[in-house]
Symmetry: C2
Subunit: 160 residues, 2 copies
Amino acid sequence: MIRWRPGRRADVAAVVALLADDMLGATRETADPETYLAAFDAMAAEGGNQLIVGEAIAGAATGLAAGGIVATYQITFISGLSLGAARRAQIEAVRVSAAVRGHRVGAALVANAEARARAAGCTLIQLTSNAAREDALRFYERQGFTASHVGFKRYLDRSD
Amino acid sequence: MIRWRPGRRADVAAVVALLADDMLGATRETADPETYLAAFDAMAAEGGNQLIVGEAIAGAATGLAAGGIVATYQITFISGLSLGAARRAQIEAVRVSAAVRGHRVGAALVANAEARARAAGCTLIQLTSNAAREDALRFYERQGFTASHVGFKRYLDRSD
């Protein structure tokens, strides 16, 4: 039903629309299109930092047009010394279109991320989810993740 | 009291010793030295993924030998589309030697990470801390971080 592939520059607008169609994203995905394209280029220039999109394929049961982007995530491979020199795969910016909810697209997304993590030699997948996303927290526990950590963020004021 | 600088290959053993001298690290930093050196090389090959060490400088009030590594952290710069195309600085593997506790080395470490994050164009610093590290959780809140997220981890069995 979904084909997962690296995102292209031409996909950026569709991905940003998915990011914005969200209880938290609605108020914060307000940068201009050129800013998002520049961020895509910066991602591409960084080793092991990939935008992945899930594209609806023909024959899908959802009634969506083939080729439409219905899910997205970002995966970053991070080597390090800790945890026995583990290489980690970090997932960010997970979104599944409301149009395909109930079709196990989220589980397929996690399986796809896991396959990419293993292929990159990672022994650990990690992600954080906003504590307000109660459904997401339950989803990740069902997918075998352990909620062992507290995720902290601190915004840096550009004007400082 | 502390000079912060990028870690070198010759610092890896001292950093691993710091990582292991910890309530959680004691049981998991058991890889062999060559594995840690290979991970250091992998970090160096990845763009924007740095090991930072804090070196005691001469005249320090701690009685430690100058040049000894008394703190460490890892900082990774991650571009992405979400949060208005924010570039993030992610901190991992934070350790401060018990020998310098009480000298505000932790606060200096966070300030150093913030300076590196700003220099790399980041608008956000993020990290996770094991929920069992109660002192660390309080420390990050005092440093202006918000505990807004739940941090999930899933280990991948190499033998799968």
